[in-house]
Subunit: 345 residues, 2 copies
């Protein structure tokens, strides 16, 4: 069958997360490895700060697994900046074969699918995935510089300052247990239902999430209730509501087990981000800092992680084009479910 | 061994190329499938014209192989435009799982490596790769709009207006022979030796080509003379000279068998492109329109195709950063060498 579920066959050995001040102050703040209160990370531009976050995240992820860069076969990385310079400069000091990705806010899942598939296909023993976003760099590129003090509409989301790095391998060992097993994946099809408001990304991306999730559930023969959590990133409050409504219209109520990284990372009551977080870094740090440790401990047994991206540019919107969305899905299992910690056994 | 040669295990079933007027007027003009003399492709913006070229290229590649989109398991695509909108909008009408790439002018090789590896790893039966560039869209984004008539320095290259699409599969059949077999691949490491002149890309990318080519020759135990052609894309005239000099300094004279897509696509004497062609579309259309048919016929038996990318952005250059380069390599063999036309047998 064409376009079917992938069986990647890899484990996530380690993850590391780096965030800015606002993310550190949020409900998940204590779960992230590093933060910098002024979001500068010792750099003189926001773009360089984003690169520095990527460097820190990958360095920490490798350290946690006690793996040196020369033992990593390939890197998958991307970000929101034009020409993905957050990644190309951030990871320049690593002499590791480099595959640059552009999946907007879906990049974490896109990279995890490709890394796990390259390992499962016998092309790599270990592969790393790194992605990031930086609020100040993204806002001045996509909308206006923060100094302008532009007003944000209620449907707007807040680009997360954060970077996440993941190290994947063929199998874990008793001494070096996995955080999670990547058992299945469903890459997303680009969907555009005609949303043209760049401050309403959740609405643009929700139909892509519906497309991917529906195809996955159909092909796997599973139901939403078979998972402890179906977590998207980053539809925010508005997009999440739309996703649940669209799924309900298909006869599937996912609302009891659905959550969204953009909803989880900021406090809706006290942090004034309107519809929640967004940006490549959002889903990456929530997965790396919060969800993977829960999978490792067995507090979550089996989840669907689905990162969503809006694939427009400021220029395409100015030219009157609508906003295409994409959603890449992974099924992640707790290693407590499988004592050997190898997804292929 | 880490970071070793990949054995993708796939064949290129078909390819299609779309170019602009200047490329049609060049020495390879007769080899491309479609051209539009005014580079507009019926669209009202250059960016939409680029998307239209991608759509045409993929449509033609699928038609040539008599394959429908629903029989394609995944697409790998990217371009030079901010947020890669040439690809996301260009391929929107194809309901095929989509992996967005950013590898600058190395995107064709990056995509071919990933597509072939996903097939070889058992994750896909068929995968397509699409990439493009458009002179007018790229110039106004990276440098200045063409209407300004800005002067170009002698080391400058000319962004090609072109799109190439490739369809890969597990194996060819007697009825449907392959254009070429993807037998080996070596993904590139990002290298930055300190070039900061955005009008001297060849110099920025040549060291990356040296890095990848040297690692490949060492690990494969092969010598330049084992190949009919070592073709880069797109170092241009200046970068090609630097590559040959740097390889000679390592004791390997590749100059008799080296050529560069940026040198091949335009006439140096009559087309005034200074150092030759560049852009994601350059290597893609030269490979798809000219080199693959030569491999299919057996006029070339075994070549190394190495697309090179400069991973900076206009902003990173303005912020004083130097230009990182990357080069991804594939070894392509003529199907006339292997009657079964499956690289894994």
């Amino acid at each position: 069958m064409s376009q079917s579920i992938l069986h990647p066959g890899a484990v996530i050995l380690s993850a590391a997360t780096v965030v800015g001040g606002k993310e550190h102050d949020g409900p998940l703040g204590a779960h992230f490895d590093f933060f910098n209160g002024n979001d500068r990370f010792g750099q003189d531009t926001w773009e360089k700060a984003e690169s520095e976050m990527q460097r820190m995240a990958l360095s920490a992820a490798l350290s946690k697994a006690d793996v040196t860069p020369d033992a990593v076969d390939m890197l998958f990385a991307g970000d929101l900046l034009n020409q993905c310079v957050g990644s190309s400069y951030g990871l320049l000091s690593y002499d590791v074969p480099y595959f640059g990705l552009y999946g907007a806010c879906s990049t974490s899942a896109e990279g995890l699918i490709l890394a796990a598939s390259m390992i499962g296909g016998g092309h790599a023993h270990r592969a790393a995935v790194v992605t990031s976003s930086h609020n100040a760099a993204a806002e001045r590129q996509f909308r206006t510089p923060l100094e302008y003090g532009g007003q944000r509409p209620p449907t707007g989301q807040w680009t997360v300052t954060g970077a996440g790095a993941f190290l994947l391998a063929e199998a874990a060992t008793r001494e070096d247990p996995a955080l999670a097993l990547v058992t299945h994946a469903m890459p997303g099809i680009v969907v555009d239902l005609g949303i043209s408001d760049a401050n309403h990304m959740g609405a643009a991306m929700a139909p892509a999430a519906v497309s991917t999730l529906t195809r996955y559930l159909e092909q796997s023969g599973s139901a939403p209730g078979d998972y402890d959590l179906i977590v998207t990133g980053d539809l925010g409050w508005e997009g999440s509501r739309i996703l649940c409504d669209l799924m309900a219209a298909k006869g599937m109520d996912i609302s009891p087990i659905h959550n969204d990284c953009g909803k989880m990372i900021f406090s809706r009551n006290t942090q004034d981000t309107h519809c929640g977080g967004s940006g490549c870094g959002c889903a990456a740090v929530v997965l790396g800092g919060y969800l993977l440790p829960m999978l490792q401990r067995g507090d979550l047994k089996r989840i669907l992680f689905m990162a969503t991206g809006a694939m427009m540019s400021p220029d395409s919107v100015k030219q009157g084009q609508t906003i295409p969305g994409v959603a890449h899905l992974l099924c992640l299992e707790s290693p407590t479910l499988r004592p050997t910690q190898s997804p292929t056994q």
